[in-house]
């Protein structure tokens, strides 16, 4: 008889994992995967699919897992998702596919679609099946001789590049940093997304014939006009990497980091390893400001580097934008949530080093434009908390480098590049997708946008 309760993913115990950088979630065994797959009712109207931003045929791939046809499952999954090993790990499933699962409320909980996705994708990586998909690889096809420049190497670019390469287009990917992967490699920590997985995904894209040129900053090293001269089209997948700060007193004190800097030092530059060359401060008491995935990642990283960590957030628990898993994991590991608090000033000692933060208590008022109840400061409720490090995770906006180097490219007030729903920008032959188009969003949306733009590029070639 099929167990009706959802099978949670085995994970490292909180007490142990908070001292290491190994992946927290351990993945399903074959038995667990099969049992969980059997919970899927295979609904004819597939409500889960409506929750997937890229429309993965979820019941179909799960049906393949049920009968042990892993190749079949890989093929279905890969057809709509170029980055399933990553999405299986980082998608906010609880607000997407799993939100609409019929089992959610009364039938033991939603089918663990994300866990199953990860299981299938890991199987593909382990068995060299990562290129298996329903659309034929078309190397010698009609796009021979065409070439596209892809700027950036995050999820949007990786996905766009692989679809184009599969269609037989020559692709050159230009990345500003010394490693490919975008946020996947510099932002999301090892314990949530092992870099070896990202590397495999990048290697796979390269194996499709995509040339990767690192150390190339578009708008500085090369310009879009130049790229348009050498290639038939250009795709911009440069993300939204510019950190926002609080704009309060004390923000430039030693020990105040943007989450981007903190995570980049730890992830990309490997500062968490003994003997790493790139330094990082090891605070004893760290305050993280914000409550999104980035804040959770920063908090859990600081914890692993030996700090006590408090997270200061101006709304309440219900409004925290991070994935549910990350919030739960952070809490289990001992991150303290100081909710309904807002920083007013960061305090420093005579050496310019952080020694505390003044915060004000907040209460929730009327819903704002985002539909969330907006926080209102409670007058006279300020108090100080002691800390020696502050990490600011208040969101990011697109880098103006590209825009500044190409005024004819239309951008919005928020700095995002304006485009139609397929990623066509105001400049002929130039396409965009991912965070650069939408502002900071998710891996799956970036991946999907890369796919759409690839399709548009191919259509415009025809």
């Amino acid at each position: 008889m099929v167990k009706t309760e959802r099978h949670e993913m085995p994970a490292q115990a909180a007490e142990i994992r908070k001292h290491n950088f190994n992946e927290v979630a351990l993945g399903y065994t074959a038995e667990l995967a099969k049992e969980e797959a059997e919970r899927c009712l295979g609904c004819k109207n597939s409500p889960c699919m409506a929750g997937c931003p890229v429309g993965v045929r979820i019941p179909d791939f799960i049906a393949r897992v049920k009968v042990g046809d892993m190749e079949g499952a890989v093929k279905i999954l890969n057809t709509d998702n170029n980055l399933s090993a990553i999405c299986g790990r980082v998608c906010p499933q609880e607000s997407q596919c799993e939100k609409y699962c019929v089992r959610k409320l009364n039938l033991g909980g939603s089918v663990a679609i994300g866990n199953l996705e990860r299981y299938v994708a890991d199987y593909a990586l382990a068995n060299g099946l990562e290129n298996l998909c329903e659309s034929e690889c078309n190397k010698a096809g009609k796009y021979e001789g065409r070439s596209v420049a892809v700027i950036g190497s995050g999820p949007a670019s990786l996905s766009c590049a692989s679809d184009l390469a599969r269609a037989g287009v020559k692709v050159v990917m230009y990345e500003a940093l010394h490693k490919a992967g975008g946020v996947l490699v510099y932002g999301i920590p090892e314990f949530r997304l092992p870099k070896s997985i990202v590397q495999k995904v990048v290697d796979n894209v390269k194996s499709l014939g995509v040339d990767l040129e690192t150390d190339v900053v578009c708008g500085k090293t090369v310009f879009i006009d130049e790229l348009l001269f050498e290639h038939d089209a250009v795709f911009i997948g440069t993300g939204a990497g510019l950190p926002s700060f609080l704009r309060i007193k004390g923000e430039n004190l030693n020990g105040v980091y943007s989450a981007n800097e903190y995570l980049t030092r730890v992830n990309l530059m490997k500062a968490y390893k003994d003997g790493a060359i790139t330094p990082i401060l090891h605070g004893k008491k760290v305050v993280v400001v914000g409550a999104g995935n980035v804040a959770m990642d920063a908090a859990r990283t600081a914890l692993r580097l030996g700090a006590e960590v408090n997270l200061v957030y101006r709304r309440s628990r219900a409004e925290m934008p991070a994935r549910e898993d990350e919030i739960v994991h952070a809490e289990e590991e001992g991150v303290v949530f100081d909710l309904l608090r807002n920083p007013v000033e960061i305090l420093g000692d005579e050496n310019g080093r952080v020694k505390g933060m003044r915060v004000i208590k907040m209460e929730l008022g009327e819903p704002d434009a985002s539909g969330r109840r907006s926080p209102v400061p409670i007058e006279g409720s300020e108090f100080e908390i002691e800390c020696d490090e502050v990490i600011v995770a208040l969101g990011t906006t697109p880098n103006p480098l590209i825009k500044n180097s190409m005024p004819s490219l239309e951008t919005s007030k928020r700095g995002t590049i304006v485009a139609d729903e397929c990623g066509r920008t105001s400049v002929k032959g130039v396409y965009v997708g991912g965070d650069a188009m939408t502002g900071a969003a998710t891996v799956i949306l970036a991946m999907g946008a890369g796919k759409k733009a690839a399709k548009a590029i191919l259509e415009d070639f025809d």
Partner: protein, 280 residues
């Protein structure tokens, strides 16, 4: 040629080397005042250096590096024919001194590296340019011949008087102005305390002053905020808003504190390196 190969290396002063690096993409668009970020070895640190010279034809970029810590010491161990792991640029904004007719360039220590391409540019534009080069002692003076060729007047000054006048660059600048020299811009580059001193002086003298800020950096593209500093009461990023700023607006005291964030760890890395180096 290998990517980022060291084509030439020469010692310019004690602990200062000039490297000519093969990097055609960087050489293609770089301009005076911009910088590169390089990595010496796998998993190494990203460190910024000013582009001192370049040849678009040969696809080369020259940098001048003073050995001060782990990464610069590692770099000094490389030989001609070796290649760097990474080399990205040109980053930052080019200098634009076009609006000025009479400029004095002030280089302190390794700051001369940053000042040199400006001298060349101004000279090429047919502008009047004086250069003050200061160093702790004679063995640290560099590019003397190059400056000689690319300036109207070159003034040398050392802390100990071992070459040129004895004193600091500010002493030289002050006496030049007092002796009747008229400058409409001072362009000063060097250690933070030196730039601060120059700015304090020129504020009194009422001469516009541009400084090049050598904040610590990670990405160099505006992505991390590591390089931030306060200019005119507002936070700026040295890598994308700079590296040059109006010196009279820069909060030097904050910049000096920020430059010391990792002092202890840097010291440890260097000791480890020197220790291992001894053993090999």
């Amino acid at each position: 040629m290998k990517k980022y190969e060291i084509l030439k290396k020469r010692a310019l002063a004690s602990n200062v080397n000039e490297y000519v690096i093969y990097a055609p993409l960087v050489a293609k668009h770089c301009l005076a005042g911009q910088f590169v970020i390089l990595i010496v070895e796998p998993d190494g640190e990203r460190v910024p250096f000013t582009i001192c010279d370049y040849s678009r034809e040969d696809g080369t970029v020259s940098i001048l590096v003073q050995e001060v810590g782990y990464t610069t010491a590692k770099l000094a161990m490389l030989k001609v024919g070796d290649a760097l792991e990474d080399f990205v640029g040109p980053l930052g904004n080019p200098t634009d001194l076009k609006e000025f007719d009479s400029v004095v360039l002030v280089g302190g220590g390794i700051g001369s590296a940053v000042v040199y391409p400006q001298a060349k540019q101004l000279k090429a534009d047919g502008k009047k340019v004086d250069v003050i080069v200061g160093a702790r002692n004679e063995s640290l003076l560099m590019y003397v011949d190059e400056f000689e060729r690319n300036s109207d007047n070159l003034y040398l000054i050392t802390d100990d008087g071992s070459n040129g006048r004895k004193g600091f660059v500010t002493d030289m600048l002050k006496s030049l102005v007092e002796s009747g020299k008229k400058y409409d811009c001072v362009f000063a580059v060097g250690p933070l305390p030196m730039m601060k001193a120059v700015c304090n002086l020129t504020r009194e003298l009422g001469v516009k002053t541009i400084v090049s800020m050598n904040s610590m950096m990670v990405d160099g593209t505006g992505m991390c905020g590591c390089c931030r500093l306060t200019v005119g009461g507002r936070t700026k990023y040295a890598c994308i808003d700079g590296p040059e700023f109006d010196g009279h607006e820069v909060d030097f005291d904050e910049a000096i504190l920020r430059s010391k964030i990792y002092k202890a760890q840097e010291q440890e890395h260097l000791c480890n390196l020197r220790g291992n180096y001894g053993k090999n």
